[in-house]
C-alpha cells in the first residue's frame, strides 16, 4: 500500500517538471503534509520500477556543491498513468468519506455530486 502511494507521489512530484532524488523526497513530504517520508532505498526502488515501466525517464545530471544530482521527468505514459490512478483514488476516497459520514448510504451506489463530502 505504502509503495503504491509513494509511486503516485513521485509521479505527482514530477508533474511540474524535472526533479532530482532529494527534491522528490521533499515534494512527497510536502504533498502528504509530512505523513509520507519514504527511505532513500524505498524511493530509488520505486523510481527504478517507474523507469523500467516507462513512466519516468532520466532527464539530465549536474554537480551541485560537489554532489552529483540526476534529474528525472515524467513521460507521456507516466502522465496518463498518473491521471488514471488519481481519478480512481479520488472516486474511492470520495465514496469512502461519504460512507463514513452517512453509513446508511453505503448500500446505495448513487453518484457523488461533490457537495455531500
Amino acid at each position: 500500500m505504502n509503495s503504491q502511494v509513494v509511486r503516485i507521489a513521485i509521479l505527482s512530484s514530477l508533474v511540474a517538471g524535472h526533479q532530482h532524488g532529494y527534491g522528490i523526497l521533499h515534494d512527497i513530504s510536502q504533498l502528504s503534509e509530512g505523513r509520507l517520508t519514504p527511505q532513500v532505498g524505498s524511493l530509488y526502488r520505486v523510481i527504478d520500477l517507474l523507469v523500467r515501466d516507462g513512466f519516468v525517464e532520466e532527464h539530465s545530471t549536474e554537480v551541485v556543491d560537489g554532489r552529483f544530482r540526476r534529474y528525472y521527468r515524467l513521460t507521456p505514459s507516466g502522465r496518463s498513468e498518473l491521471l488514471e490512478t488519481t481519478a480512481t483514488m479520488a472516486a474511492v476516497v470520495a465514496h469512502t468519506r461519504r460512507w463514513i459520514a452517512y453509513p446508511c448510504d453505503s448500500a446505495e451506489t448513487a453518484p457523488i455530486d461533490g457537495t455531500a463530502i
Binding site: 532529494y22 532505498g41 523507469v51 523500467r52 515501466d53 516507462g54 554532489r67 552529483f68 505514459s77
Partner: protein, 311 residues
Amino acid sequence: MTSLEWWYRGLMFLYPADYRLHREEEMIATLLATAGNDQMRPTAGEAVGLLRHAVVTRTAIGGQAERASGRAWAGLVAAGGISALVVLVVGVHLRGEWATTLSDWFVPVWACISAVPLAFVALTHSLPRLAAPFAAVAGAAAIAGPATMMAQRVLLCSILMFTVITCTTPDGVPRRSRVVAVVCGGAAGVAGVIRLNLRPHGIPSPPHLAVYLHHTMPVSMPVELAWLIGAAAVAVVGVFRHPRFAVTVGLLLVPVWLSTIVLCDRLGDRGFNRAPTAIVVAVVAAMSVGFGTLRSTPFRRNEGSVAPDPA
C-alpha cells in the same frame, strides 16, 4: 569524507557493481541531504531500506532494464535450493532402507538428475526457448529409469520440481514455454506413474498418492513441527506478498502433511533420519525467501508497461 558518508558508501556495497556505478553518487548525495545535521551513523530505517532495495536490485526486480546478471543470480539460488533439496531427499533415503540394495552407480545418476533443474532454471533465465526441451529431457529421464521404488521417487521429485519451477519462473519466460514445460513434465510424470503401477517389478504397488508422497518426501519429523515449519515458510512468503508461490508451497505441503498424519503410525519405522529432514525444511524455507524476492514485482507492473500510449 565524513564518517556518515563512509557508512553510506559501505552500505552501497550491498548493491551490484553495475548498479553502484550508475547510482551510487546520486544516492549518496540524496542520503546525505536527508540526514540530520548531527547524524553520525545511518539510522536503522535507512539501513533496512537500503538492504531491502539492494536485495531487490540484486535479484533484478527493480533494475532499470531487467539486468541479466541479477536474474541469473536469483535463478541460480533458487535452482541450487531445489537441487540441494533433491540431493538431500535422496541422501535420506540412500542411508535408510535402500543402502544395502543399491549399487554405486546410483549416486552419480542421482547427481545428474538433481543437476537437471539447476540447468533448467539457469538456461531458461537466459534462453527461455530451452524451457520445453529441458522439461522433456527431465521427464524422459524419469520415465527411462528403472521401474522400482527409486524410480517412483525420481518421478515424484520431477513432478514437484516442475510444479515449483514452472509456477515460479520469472515473467521473462514466455507463457508458451511455461505451458509446454508443465504439460511435458506433467505428462511424463503421469506416464511414469501409470507404468510403475502396471509393472511393479515385484514391489507392491502403493495404494494412493499419499503413500507416493510419503515415500518421496522426508516426513519423519513430528507432525506438529512439520505444520509449524510449513506454516512459517508460507508466512515468510506472505511477508513478501507472493500469493502465487505461497499457494504453490501450500498445495505441495498439504498432501505431505495429510499423509504424515494418516500414515505416521504405519510408516514410523522406515529408518528416516530427523536431522537431514530438518535441513531439507531449512532449504525449503530458503527457497521460499529466494523465490519470494525473485517474484516481488507485482504482475500488474509488467502489464502496465505495455499499455498503449494515449498520445
